[in-house]
């Protein structure tokens, strides 16, 4: 096969256009560099691709998807495009005894088209965990190093919230929060009684016009994508200013296969499969930013083997694929008879919670290390497929009685989702599967996963807490969990919270980490990995905001290096 070479050499080639890739594209092009941005999926066209304001009955499948697949827990039809737990022709493998789920998104903007927009800063202590409790590792940088970049990101993308002075949940630069919904008012009251913190949430959604984007119009559908770009997505907020510079070249439908090194040990090109033609092509650049999402980034490095780098690129330490973490997740919920009397009203709000429960037990000794925050929601949402599965099973019956029961119980449920810090362990990692390739001929990942005791104890605490809150608020807890079975205390399988990070971690030493504090590979000076892969730990803060802050910081460092002629 003929391997085509694009004659041009770009200053920087970025692989992936999500939170990390989009941020890098903006900062680097605005800094004057020429950038090629590779994306494995197609472009996104919000006006036609987003199903905002569509009713279930506007779709023949009512949101259930072909064959009712949404009923099997797969993504529904309303979700912004190309986010999926399974991609046809692009498999991944869980090792025997492990269960890992991998949500991937092949489209410009990646998973920022779908995410929950929860934008939490990591706290000073989160960067120095080993110094604090002896487990895991400290980051090679501190909160003070990252804070100016949190400022930059928040100022640019727009995040609502309130100043609360909670040491483990640092305040940011906030737009005003939306008013609480009824469900949130009820839970706030119960939390006050129980001395559990419940404060306005912090989401990347605009409550007022911001940087040329319209304010939120409160339809509660951020996950469908927002045609007014009132929430943050890389595709609508990071990529357009990069395009405006005239220095960005977008290459979509490009599945990166291998980073090619020259004899000096620097990356000179990325080999990718052009999905439209199935041809192998190359892009040359002076520097490379890998931002393909944590596990894809690890996969690309591990698949980039050469004489100089026999164990994969930037992997002389052997850590690539290791240190894989997700978030500890356990859900619980309750039925609230008081909500039956709630008059019909518009409960939509933003596409996510208006209030949340930050970690509140930071000042005492607990049965487990680290902490979790809690997201919660419920009430009079738009009804959807599967809404009444549980009621049908419990109430049974049929006819007028069933119909009335459904109406009576509508909007009376509030659910809680614990999101806690996982401590990395030796049993959680990904590697190249020895036998399988995807349809592009690229060897696929095999995942290994095992939760540690600390995580199980944390899930137990979540369940106890949610029961207490529900009961204090006058509800009935309806989520029985047990310590036994595959998912003790309801702990979600690895990957399910879609916060996988850490597989190409940064660190002080080249022997125990792959990257320095600027996300630059210890082994390969013109290679950067700025997505969640660079994380050392996985605090109970959703990773996206930190990914963007670290990418912004790495990109400014790269710009500085370029100015000094070090590319």
């Amino acid at each position: 096969m003929q391997v085509r070479r694009t004659p041009k050499t770009y200053d920087v080639c970025i692989i992936g256009s999500g939170a990390a890739g989009g941020t890098a594209a903006k900062v680097l092009t605005e800094g004057g560099l020429s950038v090629a941005l590779l994306e494995a999926g197609p472009p996104v066209v919000p006006e036609t691709d987003y199903k905002e304001h569509v009713w279930p009955y506007d779709l023949p499948h009512r949101g259930a998807g072909v064959g009712g697949r949404a009923r099997q827990g797969l993504e529904d039809e309303f979700l912004a495009p190309n986010g999926a737990w399974e991609i046809e022709g692009e498999p991944y493998v869980s090792a025997p005894g492990s269960r890992f789920r991998w949500f991937r998104s092949r489209i410009v903007g990646g998973r920022t088209n779908h995410w929950g927009r929860i934008a939490l800063r990591m706290a000073p202590v989160d960067f120095k965990v080993r110094s604090h409790d002896g487990m895991g590792d400290d980051w090679p940088l501190s909160y003070e190093d990252v804070a100016p970049y949190y400022d930059k990101v928040e100022s640019y993308i727009g995040v609502f919230g309130t100043k609360e002075n909670i040491p483990t949940a640092p305040d940011g630069i906030f737009l005003p929060p939306p008013k609480p919904r009824c469900t949130e008012t009820i839970i706030k009251k119960a939390c006050d009684q129980l001395h559990i913190l419940c404060v306005p949430s912090r989401l990347a959604i605009l409550t007022q016009p911001h940087n040329g984007r319209a304010a939120c119009h409160y339809c509660a559908q951020c996950g469908r994508g927002c045609i007014t770009a009132s929430n943050f997505s890389s595709s609508q907020v990071m990529i357009p200013p990069a395009q405006k510079t005239g220095r960005l070249t977008m290459v979509t439908g490009a599945m990166a296969r291998e980073l090619v090194v020259n004899k000096d040990g620097k990356v000179e090109a990325v080999s990718y499969i052009d999905k439209a033609t199935r041809e192998e092509k190359r892009i040359h650049a002076r520097a490379f930013i890998v931002a393909a999402s944590t596990c894809e980034s690890a996969r690309l490095l591990l698949n980039s083997r050469s004489t100089l780098f026999p164990d994969g690129l930037a992997n002389s330490s052997g850590v690539v694929g290791r240190n894989l973490m997700d978030t500890v997740g356990s859900d619980g919920g309750g039925y609230f008879p008081a909500l039956e009397k709630m008059p019909a009203h518009n409960h939509d709000g933003v596409g996510g919670m208006h209030m949340y429960l930050p970690w509140w037990k930071f000042d005492r000794k607990n049965e487990f290390l680290r902490g979790y925050h809690t997201e919660f929601g419920g009430g009079r949402n738009m009804p959807g497929v599967g809404e009444y599965d549980d009621l049908c099973d419990e109430f049974e019956n049929y006819g007028a009685a069933l119909k009335q029961e459904c109406k009576r119980k509508y909007g009376t449920f509030i659910g809680f989702s614990g999101r806690g810090e996982m401590i990395p362990n030796e049993d959680c990692y990904c590697e190249i599967d020895p036998s399988a390739v995807d349809q592009w001929g690229i060897p696929v990942l095999r995942f290994h996963w095992k939760w540690g005791d600390n995580e199980i104890k944390m899930a137990k605490d979540m369940q106890q807490t949610y029961r207490e809150i529900v009961e204090a608020a006058g509800g009935i807890y309806v989520t029985p969990t047990t310590p036994e079975g595959q998912n003790p205390y309801g702990i979600a399988d690895g990957g399910m919270i879609i916060h996988e990070v850490g597989a190409v971690r940064m660190g002080q030493h080249a022997t125990t980490s792959a990257l320095n504090q600027y996300c630059q590979a210890h082994d390969v000076r013109n290679l950067f990995v700025t997505d969640g892969a660079c994380f050392v730990t996985n605090a109970d803060k959703n990773p996206t905001l930190t990914i963007m802050a670290l990418t912004w910081r790495a990109s400014e460092y790269l710009l500085d290096q370029a100015k000094k002629g070090n590319l």
């Binding site: 009713w55 009955y57 009512r62 939306p178 009824c182 405006k244 008059p343 009804p383 019956n397």
Partner: protein, 196 residues
Amino acid sequence: MSISRRDILKTLTLTAVTGSVLRVIPLEAAEYAHRMVRAARAAAENQTYAPKFFSAHAYKTLQALCQAIIPSDEQAKGAIEAGAPEFIDLITSENKDYQVALGGGILWLDNTCIDRYSKPYLDCTAAQQKEILDRIAFRKNAKQDPSLGQGIEFFSLLRKLTADGYFTSEIGIEYLGYIGNTFVKDFPGCPPVPGL
């Protein structure tokens, strides 16, 4: 539809975003586009539905069962008017498991009715229909009469799918009293409720 949603949005986008590098369109434009889509859909709707999976007889039975599960009353119309049978037929035509469970389930019901009442379900009297549905609507009945087990499983699935079809319809959503899916300038928060 003579003018597509895409066309409208394209036009409005071009006129609206001057001055901003971000691809944003005004709320009014989007709302207008959505209204157009709905109007076009409504126009296409007044046609008889041709079942994709179920035979004519089975589909009639399906309709009768859906309406028995969620009937019409003075507050709101029932499952047939809400399009639940069409929805169930469509996803069943695409799902082999549902084909077995629902296609087979309807045959089970007819066979059982023939055994008990010498007639398929649709030809039974209202009292007979109620009698058999009262048997298969509750899991506990299988304890006394294990021969009901398959019917109970079938009815359990059909009940969920009927609820899906009903409560995702315009009729069902209005019946529940969901208000939203629209443009709101300022979110008002929780309305004053005594005791909250």
